[in-house]
C-alpha cells in the first residue's frame, strides 16, 4: 500500500492503462501542455506524446462526440470534461449518441468511451460551477456511472471503466482531488468492479448511504453518532450507480431497519429519491422508520460563503437525519 492523493491515483490509472493498451487516447481541454485543470493528467503528454494526449478546443459536445465516433471505430478514448458543469453542453452526445448507439443499431457496434469529469460545490463558484449531476446520468439506460470517493476506488474504477466496452460517465469530485488514501501498489490489474458497493463502516443501528464526497461526510457523521449518541451506523458507498449494488444496501437495511441517504445534488428526482423508492419496494416490512434523505439545497448554488456552506450537506445534518429515524427529534 502507498498513500497517494485521489488525483494521483487517477493519474496512475490513466498511465497504466495507456501503457497497457495503445488504443487508449486522452482528449480534453487543457489536459496536455497545461497538465489538466486539476492536474489529473499531469506528465502524461510528456510520456505519451501529442498523438495520445490531445488538447482540444473548448467544444464539449464535439469532444464527447469525437470520443463516441473514435470508440465506434477501434479506439478507447478517455475524454476529460473540465468540470461536470460543462457536461450540459455535451448532453446530446452523451444521451442521444453514446448511451444509445449500441442499442439503436441492434448491437452491431460498441462504444467503449469514458467521459471523466469532477463535480461539487464548496469553492464559491456560484450557480453555474457548483453542480452535482449523478442523478442526471444515472437516469440514462446505456450508460455506466461511477462515483468514486477514495483514491483506491478512483484508480480501480477508472481502470475498470477504460477496459469496459460500454460508455462510462466517470464522476470525480473537486474536493476529493487532494484527499489522501491507501492505494495498492504493484498490481496493475487490480480493478474495482462496477456494481459492488463498499461497506465503509459496519454497524447495527442504522444504514447511511453516501454518494460521491458524501460517503466521506457519512463516515464522519457515523463517528459522531457513535461517540455522542451511542448509535452504531453502517456506512455504505455504492461506488457505482449504474449498475447499482442494491443487494448490499438491502442486506444492511434488513439488519438495521433504518436508512438515511446522503447526496450533494438536488432533492427532486435525486439519487436518494430513487434509492428510497427501491428500498421501500424491496424491504418495506423491514423498515422501522421512514427513509431519511439529506441532500443539497433545492436552489441554484449561491456564491457567498456562509450561504454556500449551508446549501450542501455537512455532518450535523446527517446526524440530525439519523436521529430523526429514531424519533429523537
Amino acid at each position: 500500500m502507498a498513500v497517494v492523493r485521489y488525483r494521483e491515483a487517477l493519474n496512475q490509472a490513466l498511465r497504466e492503462e495507456m501503457q497497457r493498451d495503445e488504443s487508449v487516447v486522452l482528449m480534453g481541454e487543457d489536459i496536455g501542455v497545461f497538465n489538466g485543470a486539476f492536474k489529473v493528467t499531469a506528465g502524461l503528454l510528456d510520456e505519451f506524446g501529442e498523438k495520445r494526449v490531445r488538447d482540444t478546443p473548448i467544444s464539449e459536445n464535439t469532444i464527447v462526440g469525437m470520443g463516441v465516433g473514435a470508440a465506434m471505430t477501434g479506439l478507447r478514448p478517455v475524454v476529460e470534461l473540465m468540470t461536470i458543469n460543462f457536461s450540459l453542453l455535451a448532453m446530446d452526445q452523451v444521451v442521444n449518441h453514446a448511451a444509445t448507439i449500441h442499442y439503436m443499431f441492434g448491437g452491431q457496434v460498441r462504444v467503449p468511451l469514458v467521459v471523466r469529469m469532477p463535480q461539487g460545490a464548496g469553492h464559491q463558484l456560484g450557480p453555474t460551477h457548483s453542480h452535482c449531476f449523478e442523478a442526471l446520468f444515472q437516469h440514462v439506460p446505456g450508460l455506466l456511472v461511477a462515483v468514486p470517493s477514495t483514491p483506491a476506488d478512483a484508480k480501480g474504477l477508472l481502470k475498470a471503466a477504460i477496459r469496459d466496452d460500454n460508455p462510462v460517465v466517470f464522476i470525480e469530485h473537486e474536493y476529493l482531488y487532494g484527499q489522501r488514501g491507501d492505494v495498492p501498489e504493484d498490481d496493475e490489474d487490480l480493478l474495482v468492479g462496477f456494481g459492488q458497493a463498499a461497506i465503509r463502516r459496519e454497524g447495527e443501528d442504522v444504514t447511511i448511504v453516501g454518494i460521491s464526497r458524501m460517503a466521506l461526510t457519512a463516515e464522519k457523521a457515523a463517528k459522531i453518532l457513535a461517540d455522542e449518541h451511542e448509535v452504531e451506523a453502517e456506512v455504505i458507498d455504492p461506488r457505482t450507480l449504474r449498475p447499482l449494488d442494491l443487494d448490499t444496501i438491502l442486506d444492511s437495511v434488513r439488519k438495521t431497519n433504518r436508512c438515511v441517504i446522503v447526496e450533494e445534488g438536488w432533492p427532486h428526482g435525486g439519487v436518494g429519491a430513487n434509492l428510497a423508492a427501491l428500498i421501500q419496494e424491496q424491504a418495506f416490512d423491514h423498515l422501522d422508520a421512514p427513509i431519511g434523505r439529506v441532500t443539497g439545497a433545492d436552489l441554484p448554488m449561491p456564491y457567498s460563503k456562509p450561504l454556500e456552506q449551508i446549501a450542501y450537506p455537512h455532518e450535523p445534518q446527517v446526524v440530525e437525519a439519523v436521529l430523526a429515524t429514531f424519533g429523537d427529534l
Binding site: 462526440g65 465516433g69 479506439l75 442521444n96 448491437g107
Partner: protein, 404 residues
C-alpha cells in the same frame, strides 16, 4: 474528352458504360425504394417518421461511388438511400422500416437510424448536426491507426446552423482529419427556406473561416457530384485536408410524411422536377449512346422487382420477440453481467423483468402476437390509413415533426 457536347453540358465526362448503367440503376433503386416506403407508410406498415430522399438520389450515388469500400459514410435521418448505395440489402432496409427483427438495426432504429457495419455505413442519426462530431471521431481513429480511410459525413443545410458544425469543422481542420463534410443543400431546413435560416447562403463558404476549404457541386447531376466528391475525398486522403462540399439539390417530397408543404409553391417544385436527376441522367446516357433505347425502362423494371421482393421479405419477417426488449442496452461482460443491469426488482412496476415469461403466455396461438402488435401500433398512432391511403398521404399531418 470523349464527347465535347457532354463536356459542354455538365462540364464533366461520363463514367465508363458499365459504371454509368450501375449509377443509373442505383439511383432508380433509391427512387423506387422511397416511393414504396411512402406507400407502406400510408398503409401503416411503417411507423414513426419517414423522410424520403426523392430528388436527392444523385447526391447519394455520386458521393458513395466516389468512396472506397474501406471509407466510412455517416448520414442523417434521411438515410435509406445511403445505406442502399453503400451495399446494404434492400430487404433488410425495408424490414427495418417495418420494425422487424431482420432489419439492419434489428427493428431498434427505424427509418432514421439505419446502420450497416459490414459496408462501413456508420449510421443514420436522428439529431440534426449530431453526426458531425462522430465523423470527427472516425477520422481521428483512421488517422491514429495509420489507415487511408476517409470519412464522408452527410448532413443537411439545416444542420449547418448547429453548434457542432463550427466545432467539428474547426477541430477537423486543426487536427488535419481525413473527412469530407457534405452538406446536402436541399433548400429547406424542414419548412424554413435557406435564405430564412442562413445569413450566408453559399454554404460551401461557411468553412473558410474555420480552415475548411469549400467546393460546390450540382446535386442534381450524379456525374458532377461524383467528380467533386471524388476530388474532395482525394484531398482528404492524400493531403489530410478536410473539405466542405455543398451539393445543391431539392427534395421533391415533403420534409417527412407529416409535411403539408405550405412553405413552398407547387411551381417551384415543378421547376426542380424538370431537373430530375434520374431522368436527366438517363436521357444523357441515351443521347450519348451509352444506353440503348428501352434500356432505362428495363433497368427500372429490375429495380421494381427488387423492391417488390424487399417488401415481401419485410412483410414476412418476424417482429422482434418481446423477450428481446432489453437486449443490447449494454455489452455484457465482467462488469455488466445480466441482461438487465439495473437491479430494480419490485413487482407491479414495468421494468422488463418478466417479459420472458409474459412473452410465452401472450404469444398464444401462431401469429397471434404479431397480429396484436400490428393492431396495437396502429391504434397507438391513431392511424387508420388502410381505408384511404391517398387521403392519408395527402393530409400527411397526423404527426407533427418537432425536429429539424
Amino acid at each position: 474528352m470523349a464527347d465535347a457536347a457532354q463536356e459542354e453540358q455538365t462540364g464533366r465526362s461520363l463514367p465508363d458504360p458499365d459504371a454509368a448503367r450501375e449509377w443509373l440503376s442505383a439511383m432508380m433503386l433509391i427512387r423506387r425504394f422511397e416511393e414504396r416506403a411512402g406507400e407502406m407508410y400510408a398503409k401503416a406498415k411503417v411507423g414513426g417518421f419517414l423522410h424520403l430522399a426523392i430528388g436527392e438520389e444523385a447526391t447519394i450515388v455520386g458521393a458513395v461511388r466516389a468512396m472506397r469500400d474501406d471509407d466510412y459514410l455517416i448520414s442523417t435521418y434521411r438515410s435509406h438511400g445511403h445505406a442502399l448505395s453503400r451495399g446494404a440489402d434492400p430487404n433488410r432496409v425495408m424490414a427495418e422500416l417495418f420494425g422487424r427483427e431482420d432489419g439492419v438495426s434489428h427493428g431498434r432504429g427505424g427509418s432514421m437510424h439505419m446502420f450497416d457495419l459490414e459496408h462501413r455505413f456508420m449510421g443514420g442519426y436522428g439529431i440534426v448536426g449530431g453526426n458531425l462530431p462522430l465523423a470527427a471521431g472516425m477520422g481521428l481513429s483512421a488517422d491514429y491507426r495509420g489507415t487511408e480511410d476517409v470519412t464522408v459525413c452527410v448532413f443537411g443545410d439545416g444542420a449547418a446552423n448547429q453548434g457542432t458544425f463550427g466545432e467539428t469543422l474547426n477541430l477537423a481542420a486543426l487536427w488535419r482529419l481525413p473527412i469530407v463534410f457534405m452538406v446536402t443543400n436541399n433548400q429547406f431546413g424542414m419548412g424554413t427556406s435557406l435564405e430564412r435560416h442562413s445569413a450566408v447562403t453559399d454554404l460551401h463558404r461557411r468553412g473558410e473561416g474555420l480552415g475548411v476549404p469549400g467546393m460546390r457541386c450540382d446535386g442534381m447531376d450524379v456525374v458532377d457530384t461524383h467528380h467533386v466528391i471524388g476530388e474532395a475525398v482525394r484531398r482528404a486522403r492524400e493531403e489530410r485536408q478536410p473539405v466542405l462540399v455543398e451539393a445543391i439539390t431539392y427534395r421533391f417530397r415533403g420534409h417527412s410524411m407529416a409535411d403539408p408543404e405550405e412553405y413552398r409553391s407547387k411551381e417551384q417544385v415543378a421547376e426542380w422536377r424538370k431537373r430530375d436527376p434520374i431522368t436527366t441522367f438517363a436521357d444523357t446516357l441515351l443521347e450519348q449512346d451509352v444506353l440503348e433505347e428501352g434500356e432505362p425502362d428495363r433497368l427500372d423494371e429490375e429495380v421494381v422487382k427488387r423492391i417488390d421482393a424487399a417488401v415481401a421479405f419485410a412483410d414476412g419477417s418476424a417482429f422482434p420477440p418481446p423477450e428481446s426488449l432489453y437486449d443490447s442496452i449494454y455489452v455484457l461482460g465482467d462488469q455488466v453481467k445480466g441482461w438487465y443491469s439495473v437491479d430494480e426488482r419490485s413487482a407491479g412496476v414495468h421494468r422488463g423483468e418478466h417479459e420472458r415469461e409474459l412473452a410465452a403466455k401472450q404469444r398464444g396461438p401462431e401469429g397471434a402476437y404479431e397480429k396484436a402488435v400490428e393492431q396495437a401500433s396502429e391504434e397507438d398512432l391513431g392511424l387508420d390509413k388502410g381505408a384511404d391511403e391517398a387521403q392519408a398521404e395527402d393530409d400527411g399531418a397526423e404527426k407533427a415533426d418537432p425536429e429539424s
